[in-house]
Amino acid sequence: MIIVARILATIFALIVVSRSMADYKNKKESPQMTIFWVIVWLVIAGIAFFPSLVETAIRVLGGNRSGLGTVFGMGLVFIMFVSYRIYIKANRVEKKLNEISRQFALLSLDKPRARTKRVSSNRPK
């Protein structure tokens, strides 16, 4: 079971890190977000290979025991964060789509004379 988790974590980490780097190169993602995702996935992969890191982290943070519940709790928080990010991104895309559609729709209210003028000025002489 632990081997499957390690393989999955490695595959996911490689996919996400490479996507983040590609998005950063294409200027679709900010440097801060790229660094954030790279660190998050390196930590996840690290925990998959060295689960004792969680114990150490809890001791450092002042706790005294960790169980499966702690790991699930951390996972749940992470999933909630990812859901929130997806919601924000989807919302942003929806707003942009809405704005483009609105601008397009309102073009019909431009005076026909103004539109004709613009079209004719683009014609080759």
Binding site: N98, S101, R102, A105, S108
Partner: protein
């Protein structure tokens, strides 16, 4: 209101209202006391039926969304259109024929008299014929809208509203769906706009009852309002 010629824009958000939209537009008043010019803006919100064709048969100006975005988005497009054609007042009215066009004169009156920036045509003071489940749903949404805006209205979900020129340019609405109705009030409070309510008659036909909002849509409105509030805070 300044003593110049008053231009009124009647905004109708339309989504698949093919069977009735022509009669709704044709029933709108051609003249209103205190108004010099009336322009009807029908915003076709990506209808998949013959709504656009039916609108073209009328004197209304057709504004079309290329895709369906939601009632709130269509209404805001109509208000932006009203701003673009330099209307002094904009009235929004549903495309399913549930509002009585004769009430338009009543709901623009407080704006003409400089007593309000936004006027809500409230259906709950003359709610004869409104199904009880809708009355309960509307009251529930009134309470939630009050919690978010600290502004009480007896029909926060009414689509029959009038907006002054000041309100049209001041409102910054982000909602796309029916949660738009509540967001207008939240925004109005933020912008310190004056709100008035006028009782309007509601015409519940078999068609308008079918087209009306279900209780599940009401739940959806609540969820979207809460998420919208949280994301604005964050």
């Amino acid at each position: 209101m300044p003593k110049h010629k008053i231009h009124l824009a009647i905004v109708i958000p339309v989504y698949n209202e093919g069977p009735v939209i022509r009669s709704v537009i044709n029933s709108l008043p051609k003249q209103i006391s205190g108004v010099d010019k009336i322009t009807v803006l029908a915003v076709n919100d990506g209808s998949t039926d013959n709504s656009a064709k039916e609108i073209k048969k009328t004197k209304a100006v057709l504004v079309s969304h290329p895709i369906n975005l939601g009632a709130g988005s269509a209404t805001v497009t109509g208000l932006k259109g009203a701003e673009k054609i330099k209307a002094d007042i904009a009235v929004t009215i549903d495309g399913d024929g549930q509002h009585d066009p004769k009430d338009i004169a009543k709901i623009i009156k407080p704006i003409l008299q400089n007593k309000a920036d936004i006027v809500i045509g409230t259906r709950l003071k003359k709610s004869k014929g409104m199904p009880n489940i809708k009355k309960v749903g509307n009251w529930g949404l009134n309470i939630i809208t009050y919690a978010l805006s600290r502004m009480w209205t007896s029909d926060s979900q009414s689509g029959f509203r009038a907006f002054s020129k000041k309100a049209i340019s001041a409102l910054d609405i982000e909602s796309l769906g029916y949660e738009f109705c509540s967001e207008v009030l939240v925004e109005a409070k933020r912008q310190k706009l004056k709100i008035a309510e006028v009782p309007v008659r509601v015409i519940y036909t078999h068609y308008s009852k079918q087209k009306g909002q279900s209780i599940f849509n009401g739940m959806n409105i609540v969820i979207k309002l809460i998420i919208g509030k949280i994301t604005k805070i964050i």
